[in-house]
Amino acid sequence: MNLFVFTNFFAQTGKDLKNLGDYAEAASTKWGLAEPGVYYEGGLFFAGLIKWLLSTTEVSSALPFAGTVNGLMTSLAADGSIFPELGGLLITIGVVFGFVNVFAIGAVWSERKVSAHMQCRLGPMEVGPHGLLQTVADGLKLLTKEDIIPRLADKPLFAIAPAVVFAGVLMRFVPLPFGDKLIASDLDLGLFFIAAVGAVEVLGVIMAGWASNNKWSLFATIRTATQMVSYEIPIGIAFVTVILCSGSFSLMEIVNQQGGSLLSADDGYTYQGWVWHWNLFRNPFMPILGIVYFIASLAECKRAPFDLPEAESELVSGFHTEYSGMRFALFFLAEYAAMYLVAAVAVVIFLGGWWSGIYPLDALGTGPDATIYTKTLGLLVKVGVFLSKAFALVFVQMWIRWTLPRIRLDQMMYVCWKVLLPISLLCFVGSCLWELVSGGASVFGFGIVVE
């Protein structure tokens, strides 16, 4: 509610500055979303939604916050009451933030349930059906707990460190799609952005550990710094290899290629997208690289067996030993958001994004005879496929955590520098040669030629 009041306020002020009606009309014509001059009475949101679903034109990334949400907002703005860019920004933030929170709540709950069932227990049962609201209760409780800043802590750093960690994770959601057309902003340098902004999280963790003025936290900090910086490298090489094969940094573009000709026949994809067009099967090195990426991503988001920074039996609680209440909850949220994030990136770059890998299913809602229903259905299927792939990977992360022991610091460095790095470099070189020799053919011999 507040969001719309807020947006309307800005829209009113915006009206004085500029002839918004003209702008909206021009924009809608450009996007082909709304007929000029059509006034949507009531049900504004849904009208815009339907209008946008009916549109078949691909949304390009010309505006900073272009893409689905902004397209939607533009169509809403056709009546001149909503200032599109700001609205798009707010909704984007809202959607991403909301998703992160809801996901984290769900993931914490499912982690507890998954672990419980693996351990012959039941897990949370009392709050809500099967303890569904357990995490909500935990979160609200943490909100109302006393917020302690130790006397000897570096107060400003201590206070902002959780926010930095959380922002570092949240920012990486910006170029990440949730499904076809559902993206906050399709950055041209999407993968690069994800890799680069990852460093912010390390910074936050270091700030937290240092500012706590606690020796255990300090230990965790040093471990985190070594771990996250080292594992950036195999991840980076995996990114580079994918970029090299796809010829694009953009996550949308990478996914689209794996789906073939479905939505963008005019972009030069002439093949039908099946499972073997996923990047994972693009050449014989890709599966290995996928595993390397997955292992490195476990370390990147501090999950077992690489949970050294918060190793409970060694470092009490790691870098957040001194944190209580909401600040601790932010670390918690960030951890689970990062879990989803690395899984989603793996889905995008290796597992075909929102493509189910079955051509007829992927083709749902495309083509000239698509109706509003098939289009909606197709969109939902794509979102569902994407999320379920990502959640499956998150489940594997949980599974690993509750099965494997933790490794030691020197072994972790060994795994990174002497195992993962050489393997990923080999895969990189191999992929280069493969692309060179085969001209971009997949391992099954089907051509993937991007013009």
Partner: protein
């Protein structure tokens, strides 16, 4: 209405119905997410672990995450004998916990020294000489069911809290200052 207002002289809590609704929600969340501190001292700690483990499963009631650090815990289960050497540490750990915090004294030793009350020169005769205790669970060691019952008692106490009424905590005696 007068009657209720008389019972709540605090001007902040004048809006009784609204505040009690908020109290109910917050207390419900607190009561259903009691994170205990991993604070095993002796035999009772094994029963505490057993309560958290497969058969009794403390996690069902939202108390699963045993936190290693006092900063993130709501409940201190003092499980085992407290000795004079340990006493300052117990006090410090209690002080490090954020409000609202609760203490369960688990087992005979923690309540009044247990079997060591007479000859145990080095045993603190009851942890309530050090820190305020909310719930006592007798037994040597208490069964896991008894610990669960103690947890429910703590939950009941939590549900009686008033968010703006801080008297309960401040009236708790400062029983012990480490010398």
């Amino acid at each position: 209405m007068n009657e209720i207002e008389n019972r709540n002289p605090d001007p902040l809590t004048k809006n009784v119905i609204f505040m009690s609704a908020i109290d109910d929600v917050i207390n419900a969340t607190r009561a259903n997410s009691v994170w205990p501190l991993t604070f095993g001292l002796a035999c009772c700690a094994i029963e505490m672990m057993a309560t958290g483990a497969a058969k009794y499963d403390l996690d069902r009631f939202g108390s699963g995450p045993f936190r290693g650090t006092p900063r993130q815990s709501d409940l201190m289960i003092v499980a085992g004998t407290v000795t004079h050497k340990m006493a300052p540490r117990v006090k410090r750990l209690y002080d490090q916990m954020p409000e609202p915090k609760y203490v369960i004294a688990m087992g005979g030793c923690v309540i009044r020294g247990g079997p060591y009350v007479k000859h145990g020169y080095h045993v603190v005769k009851g942890v309530d000489l050090l820190i305020p205790v909310d719930v006592y669970i007798p037994g040597c060691p208490p069964r896991p069911e008894a610990l669960l019952e103690g947890l429910f008692k703590v939950q009941k106490l939590m549900k009686r809290e008033k968010i703006l009424d801080r008297t309960r905590r401040t009236t708790k005696p400062e029983v012990y200052q480490p010398v």
